[in-house]
């Protein structure tokens, strides 16, 4: 490592935990030989946890992981969004992970380990029942058995900014488990790990805290704005209703005034109607009186005329005489119903002129002279005059009565129309009153509250803007820092990648636009893209930032190479690192197993730029030859291989409680293991494609 780069790396002062000793005792899953459990010292180089499916390889890796991270998990863990969640740790959700795997609930099970952090030494023991601390020493000095104190110690030993960062680094960088975060292939993940590894502690802390604060405030701001908008909308609607209220009140006032006017008009029309009815009654009185007077006159005249008719028609039936008398007396014609005075006058004139009232014969041609009808001509004439007068009066009174009836009819129709209108007005007023009752609005109160909230929202927006500006300032430092380190990282990556990639791979420093929170501008965060030649082009081509741009094997090993480069760059080669890899063969074609093994071993080799590192890998005892490749059996003789295995292999075939497969096929597995020590390794190594 160039002196300059080393100096820069020192600034970060990151030290990764390196496992040097592991003891698992009292855990039924690993009874060990002679019930001694597992006890293993880890040396520089590769250590393989060998076994078959179900023997507890992953559990053992988790024992190592949990010794470091303890009973805590990130609050919002997402494999695909590392670093995006809030930076909080909460109690481990799967507390029964170890105890549920054994019959005794891991009551007396414990795990103990020694980790080196550079020159410093952490000795830790935890109960496998609940991960409680059983022992804790740093550089031989005992610490209180308190998880917080352990956290502080871990932060201090590793040189990171926080327990969260320590947890993240262990979980997502040191450990490369099957359920892992694709660190390289994730822009947020890349930047998050840069922050933790490469920036000085205040910057790392500041960036971490600011990002967390921005996320919290962004979320708070959005929640508040959502609530505010909802209330503002409701208020706007209420205000609109209030506008309606004002309109309604005005309309109600107008309606009430109209109703009052209608009522007054009705009272007047009632009085007028009463007057009309009275007038009509008077007319009827007058009319009926006149009719009775006429009746009297007619009967008197009839009595007078009766003598005339009795003389001229001595044998005439009474009824006919009555009819003629009625006619001559002005009472009308009972035969045809004609009541006109003219017919009576005609008969009277005939009688007066001694003309026959039946055939109108003059006296000179009459066989029997019709005597003059008037016995008392003067009296009859007087009565006839009165009778005519009454007839005229009656006629005019009848007309008056008809007029009275008409005006009453008119006023009744007018009142009916008025009633309809009045009912409509009252109903309209009632509807408005009901509406007014149903729309109370404390306009001032809501307005004040909303104004206050608007101000608060505005203040929050300003605060968020300030935070984002501060973050941008810090980010500028981060970009500058990463640009300084970019070459170191790139060259380390190329060195590892070239070991197992047929294609030429390079990193290209290319800041990514990353969002913090759901709104606001993106931040240009330090990031690296992969440039790689392809089968069809030998020149280093376009950036491949998407995991789907490369094959599955390439994806895995590019991520591994990136991690190795990160570790080497972060430590500057001044302290050892550790990678824990779960079944590296799982995504490899068998042809490339040896090559992968060589690569992983290369990470552990002590070079001029790196101390010897530790790589712990779990692997299946199968015919893929991963274990020999990891342990570097190469062409070594069987005895040497056994020696290497004793030193660098935790053989779960011997140490773990036999499962059903072991009970059935134990001899076959042991034969496979034996073969591993004796078989010739495949010659040559082909790079991974």
């Amino acid at each position: 490592m160039p002196r300059e780069a080393k100096k820069r790396a020192d600034v970060a002062g990151i030290r990764f935990p390196v496992l040097r000793k592991l003891i698992v005792a009292g855990y039924e899953l690993y009874p060990g030989t002679s019930r001694g459990g597992i006890k293993h010292d880890f040396h520089d180089g590769v250590t393989v946890i060998a076994g078959v499916n179900g023997l507890g390889k992953t559990t053992l890796l988790n024992v190592i992981l949990r010794l470091l991270v303890g009973p805590l998990d990130p609050k919002k863990a997402s494999n695909f969004e590392p670093g995006v969640s809030s930076q909080e740790l909460i109690r481990w959700r799967d507390q029964q992970y170890f105890s549920s795997r054994v019959g005794d609930g891991a009551e007396n099970a414990s795990a103990e380990a020694v980790f080196h952090f550079g020159e410093r030494r952490l000795s830790i023991a935890r109960s496998l029942q609940n991960l409680a601390l059983l022992a804790l020493t740093v550089d031989g000095e005992e610490l209180p058995l308190d998880e917080d104190r352990y956290g502080e110690a871990a932060v201090l030993l590793s040189g990171v900014a926080s327990r969260y960062d320590f947890d993240f680094i262990v979980r997502h960088l040191v450990f490369f488990l099957e359920r892992r975060v694709p660190l390289f292939w994730n822009e947020s993940g890349q930047f998050e790990i840069f922050r933790m590894l490469f920036f000085d502690r205040p910057l790392a802390e500041r960036l971490g805290n600011l990002a967390a604060e921005i996320r919290v405030e962004d979320s708070h701001f959005r929640n508040m704005r959502w609530s505010f908008n909802r209330r503002e909308k409701a208020y706007a609607e209420a205000k609109q209703k209030a506008g309606q209220v004002v309109h309604d009140q005005a309309q109600l006032a107008a309606l009430e005034s109209a109703i009052k006017a209608t009522e007054e008009a009705r009272t007047k029309s009632s009085e007028e109607l009463l007057r009309m009815i009275e007038r009509r009654k008077q007319t009827i009185t007058n009319l009926d009186q006149r009719r009775l007077q006429l009746e009297d006159l007619v009967r008197e005249l009839q009595t007078s005329r009766q003598r005339f008719f009795a003389r001229i028609f001595p044998d005439m039936p009474k009824a006919a005489e009555y009819v003629l008398g009625q006619l001559a007396s002005g009472g009308g014609c009972l035969v045809c119903g004609n009541r006109r005075a003219s017919s009576a006058n005609r008969v009277r004139k005939l009688m007066k002129d001694n003309v026959c009232p039946v055939c109108e014969s003059p006296p000179e041609i009459q066989e029997k002279i019709i005597p003059v009808g008037a016995v008392d001509a003067a009296r009859i004439a007087q009565m006839e005059q009165q009778e005519n007068k009454r007839q005229v009066e009656i006629s005019s009174l009848e007309k008056l009565l008809a007029a009275n009836d008409r005006e009453i009819q008119e006023i009744l129709e007018y009142r009916a129309a008025e009633d309809t209108q009045s009912v409509a007005l009252v109903r309209q007023a009632e509807e408005i009153k009901a509406r007014l009752l149903a729309s109370p609005l404390e306009e001032d109160g809501i307005d004040r509250e909303l104004r206050k909230d608007r101000e608060e929202l505005s203040a929050l927006r300003v605060e968020l803007f300030k935070k984002r500006s501060q973050y941008e300032d810090q980010l500028e430092k981060a970009r500058s820092r990463m640009q300084e380190l970019a070459e170191d990282l790139k060259s380390a990556f190329e060195r590892y990648a070239s070991t197992f990639m047929a294609e030429t791979c390079r990193l290209d420093y290319d800041p990514a636009e990353i969002k913090i929170g759901q709104e606001g501008d993106t931040f240009r965060c330090p990031n690296f893209k992969l440039l790689m030649t392809s089968a069809t082009s030998t020149s280093v081509g376009a950036p491949r930032s998407d995991p789907d741009d490369v094959s599955e094997s390439q994806r895995e090993f590019i991520d591994l190479a990136f991690r190795m480069a990160l570790m080497i760059t972060a430590t500057g080669g001044t302290s050892a690192s550790m990678l824990v890899v779960e079944t590296p063969e799982s995504s490899l074609d068998s042809v490339f197993v040896e090559h992968a093994g060589a690569l992983l071993r290369q990470f552990t080799k002590r070079t001029s730029t790196s101390k010897g590192n530790v790589l712990v890998a779990s692997s299946n005892l199968n015919r893929e030859n991963m274990i020999p490749a990891l342990l570097g059996f190469d062409d070594k003789p069987a005895e040497e291989r056994r020696k290497i295995a004793r030193r660098s292999m935790i053989n779960l075939l011997e140490l773990a409680a036999p499962n059903a497969a072991m009970r059935s096929f134990g001899p076959e597995y042991r034969r496979d293991l034996e073969l591993m020590f004796n078989a010739r390794q495949r010659n040559g190594s082909r790079p991974v494609k």
Binding site: R299, Q302, T303, Y322, G325, L334
Partner: protein, 220 residues
């Protein structure tokens, strides 16, 4: 369509005037009061006008002028004479009185002709006419229970007609229930102990007639 709704939809026939008179004549025939003198006919016609609301019927005329010869409707007389000339009624007697206590008068007596009887029976096919006829029949029967000497004077004791504040020539108006004292009196018999609540409308007419008789007896 059922019978009751058919009845409900019957046209609103005008039962005033000649129809009312013809039905009254038919009722009087049943009560053995025919032939009937003009003035008596007018008095019972007047009583029918006053008491029709007891049977929820609308009378032809709800006013009368207080007249020295007693209640008299000139229009009704015209209708009576027209029906007589038309053959529905028969004029059985005509008496020309040059001068009685109130002046000259022509008294006549009327009966129901065969044609009139037949026309009245036809009218009973109309349910509203039938209801009126029921009332007129009760009225005529109650009226016929007067002793002969009370037949003419008793109606003059009618509460509406005999109201002391009404001078001759005044209009007696009993159009509203409030102003129809005859009706109120008849209906009041409903509440008389020991018959409280037990009287029907027929009995109310009957009691009112007895009441007129008693008033007349008291007045004479």
């Amino acid at each position: 369509m059922n019978e009751s709704s058919a009845e409900a939809e019957e046209p609103d026939y005008d039962l005033s005037g000649r129809v009312w008179l013809l039905l009254l004549m038919e009722a009087l025939a049943h009560a053995g009061l025919l032939p009937i003198a003009k003035l008596r006919l007018h008095r019972i016609l007047y009583l029918s006008n006053c008491l029709a609301p007891v049977f929820q019927s609308k009378p032809p005329k709800a006013t009368v002028i207080k007249y020295r010869r007693g209640p008299f409707y000139p229009d009704a007389q015209w209708d009576i004479d027209r029906m007589a000339a038309g053959g529905l009624l028969a004029i059985t007697e005509i008496g020309y009185q040059p001068k009685d206590e109130f002046g000259p008068w022509v008294e006549s007596t009327y009966d129901l002709s065969r044609a009139g009887y037949s026309a009245a029976r036809s009218l009973l096919g109309i349910s509203s006419a039938c209801r009126v006829h029921e009332f007129l029949l009760e009225l005529a029967n109650a009226f016929s229970s007067f002793p002969d000497e009370r037949l003419d004077p008793a109606p003059l004791q009618d509460v509406n007609y005999a109201a002391p504040a009404k001078p001759e020539g005044a209009l007696i108006d009993f159009e509203s229930i409030a102003s129809n004292y005859s009706l109120q009196t008849a209906v009041a018999f409903r509440n008389l102990a020991p018959l409280q609540g037990a009287t029907n409308r027929r009995e109310q007419i009957y009691f009112y007639m007895r009441y007129l008789e008693q008033r007349n007896l008291a007045a004479s």
